[in-house]
Symmetry: C2
Subunit: 190 residues, 2 copies
DNA sequence: GGGTGCATGTAATGGGTTACATGATTCT
DNA sequence: AGAATCATGTAACCCATTACATGCACCC
């Protein structure tokens, strides 16, 4: 009955607008849809689906299969669509950044600059790779989902990822330069 | 004995390099130091300090006070400094973005474009404000901590915040434009 | 009298991942 | 023979925040 907190159930409702699915299906679909900015594990999915079903937001149908366990396929109800829309309208809570990289960099003076340089380099490579992945997905979406009314929204989410990763790569380059200068100053000043 | 997982204790060791502090002091210092990218609550700080003390990474001294409860002041030990340095050298785990804004935007086709526009606008304003805060802190640091060998590292962490927020603002502007176009197309196409 | 600051700490709660348990089928 | 895929679900655990409990001093 509660069903108040938790964005997980709302994310599930959203995914079920695409098509009726089992918990297993949902898990498998995530990397190809909201995977760049959201994740869900079985430990969240299965109990959430159960609660959504008992609250009438989704409908469960059991498909028997030979050899394999039964598939529990959930589909969105009208009530569920209503709840999804209500949730979509609610203001988004501020997201606070929590970064282990920055924490380590903040205390970087207590170790050799090489250490920080390695961290920043790894970070840069990570986001360099991410940029390529984003580009590939954008290409794929333009081909496979051309004309889909949801496509513009999907591209917007990808664009945020691109802007973000590009900014991170740029920052990394600048920071690496600064770390070099720091080290030269250190060596020169001895 | 365990003390393996958990970046919280390591963050505390880092902060204690600045000066010996009580749990209360640490909490108060965070907004002025690592606050833009890290947070800790009392529920984490006090138990962690206790464990760090019993493992010999910090040393506890009790200062009696009249009227107020005793202050438990912790200072970093040599062993603690060693552990901090070891931790600083460890590679940083990849940080996965988890964004409720993007989740809502992804499903934006199920509600009016106005809804998405409001979310994006709020996001833009949030980061516009953040940019001003960053600028103010940078100014303050240049004045108050000029010459501190840690200053360059502190500025690097702030710079990442600036790059990030600037990218988000830019994305927001572009996205708002796209949402406008979407709406015009919708209206025109009816 | 009531709020705020100092100062400690624990308990309850939430949110999430990982590991475990089960078991048939199909591919290598 | 052994791994991978399909498919469900629970239990243990980790991390973190919030609320609660205590209590004096100071200021309005």
């Amino acid at each position: 009955m509660k069903m108040s907190g938790g964005t997980t159930p709302n994310a599930l409702l959203g995914l079920l607008t695409l098509k009726p699915m089992s918990g297993y299906d949902i898990r498998a679909l995530i990397p190809q849809s909201i995977g760049h900015f959201w994740s869900e594990s079985y430990g969240q999915i299965y109990p959430s689906l159960k609660r959504l079903a008992s609250a009438g937001f989704v409908e469960k149908k059991t498909q028997r299969q030979k050899g394999k366990p039964d598939r529990h396929v959930y589909s969105l109800t009208e009530k569920g669509r209503g709840r999804l829309q209500e949730w979509l309208k609610l203001p988004v809570e501020q997201e606070v950044l929590r970064s282990e990289l920055l924490l380590k960099l903040f205390f970087g003076a207590h170790v050799s600059p090489d250490v920080s340089r390695e961290h920043v380099t790894a970070f840069m490579e990570e986001h360099d790779k991410a940029l390529k992945v984003y580009a590939a997905i954008v290409k794929r979406l333009h081909k496979e989902d051309a004309g889909d009314p949801q496509l513009p929204f999907w591209l917007m989410t990808l664009n945020l990822g691109r802007h973000r990763s590009a900014a991170f790569v740029k920052w990394s380059r600048e920071t690496l330069k600064e770390l070099d200068e720091l080290e030269r100053a250190q060596k020169g000043g001895r």
